[in-house]
Amino acid sequence: MKQKRLLAVMLFLLLAVLPSCKSDDDDDLIGKWYRVSDFDGLARYAASSFTIGNKGYLVCGYDNKKCLSDLWVYDIEMDSWTQLASFPGTARHTAVAFTVNEKGYLGTGYDKENYLKDFWEYNPAGNTWEQKADFPGSARYGAVGFGVAGKGYIGCGYDGNYLKDFYSFNPSTNAWEQIISIGGSKRTGATSFVINDEAYVCCGLNNGDYVNDFWKYNPSTGLWTQLRDISDTSDDDYDDDYNIVRTNGVAFVIDGAAYIACGESGSVRSDTWKYSPATDLWENVAKFKGTARTSTASFSSGERGFIVSGKSSTLCFDDIWELHPYEYDDDDY
């Protein structure tokens, strides 16, 4: 009798343990997220990031108490961090950063009191910051920017109103020039990525609407081209499952395809989408494995992509994750 009871208890325990071992079978999307560093510390959100070669730079942001100005570099090969020269301008969050010709650039943002329009260059060779010509548009935060074909670009954002004006910066002349505004919606919290010397801008928020128009900028013609919408707006079925729109999402590029993850649209997001420029189509891939979050930063070497920091309600994150796009994850999460 005793033995029978023992057997029953064990069977019960076994049944309690078993379900968690089961992997999801039907919804297996390609991609596997790895938590790559146990670095508990650089907790922040709305930080700015740029990547030069195999190094990801993380600067500024907000830690729920104060605006930050420290600069850290993550060595993708070594998986280690080094603290560099702090950003000398006003500590801020929601600034724009990008890389042009092996130098980092950072401008605009918000210091909790003022919208900002100053613009700075970081030179990794000397570990130095230098102030450059101010961004010529209105001071703003939540702008979108990218470096492509030897120039930097900043546009859109929020200055009390939603914006869509765009400007280019030429590092060799230290001069800004207004370019054609992005077509379609004004937006803040948009996401950009660069593939084959063309820049793409999507997502973002306009007056409470998550915008679904998607644009490509060609720096040699100076023209914007509208691509297919990123929500189910066509009669065809390729976009029936599109659920891409969001604000404060983040992107990186691996092997000529872009990946968009995290962000928010009412609630924080973890679903991840892959964009193929050749087909102008999006594919749902493995969702981000860390806690769903928004306002993250990313490192994008062109071969490897990382998501770092971010927030969920009032919680700041400090973990760093890498997507291996061609693997599958057996875990159910």
Partner: protein, 106 residues
């Protein structure tokens, strides 16, 4: 009966062990500070569970490629980072930290 019981027990123990591994062991951070010599000075490393987490060959927060002038200053800065990491504080070194560290040394 006893055989099936013990087999089940083994399976159960195995599964529990597997799950605890999957879920990750409790956060046990073993932090360690190490200084190292460079051509023109000193730097520090912070290791967590034996893996280098922070590799600091230059003086943090200031515009320079210079390393620390001596082992004492590298160790002082590294200790500050280690202390803050252990207290779960913001461990970025500020310009004021550097001023303070070098003033103390003189």
């Amino acid at each position: 009966m006893i055989a099936s019981c013990s087999l089940l027990l083994l399976v159960l123990i195995g599964l529990l062990f597997y799950r605890s591994g999957e879920m990750g062991s409790p956060d046990r951070r073993q932090l360690e500070l190490q200084t190292f010599q460079l051509e023109d000075g000193w730097g520090y490393k912070i290791r967590m569970n034996r893996k280098v987490l922070i590799y600091q060959p230059t003086i943090p927060s200031i515009d320079t490629m210079m390393s620390f002038p001596n082992e004492t200053s590298a160790k002082a800065a590294g200790s500050l980072v280690l202390e803050r990491l252990n207290r779960n504080q913001d461990f970025s070194i500020t310009k004021d930290d550097i001023k303070y560290l070098f003033k103390q040394k003189e």
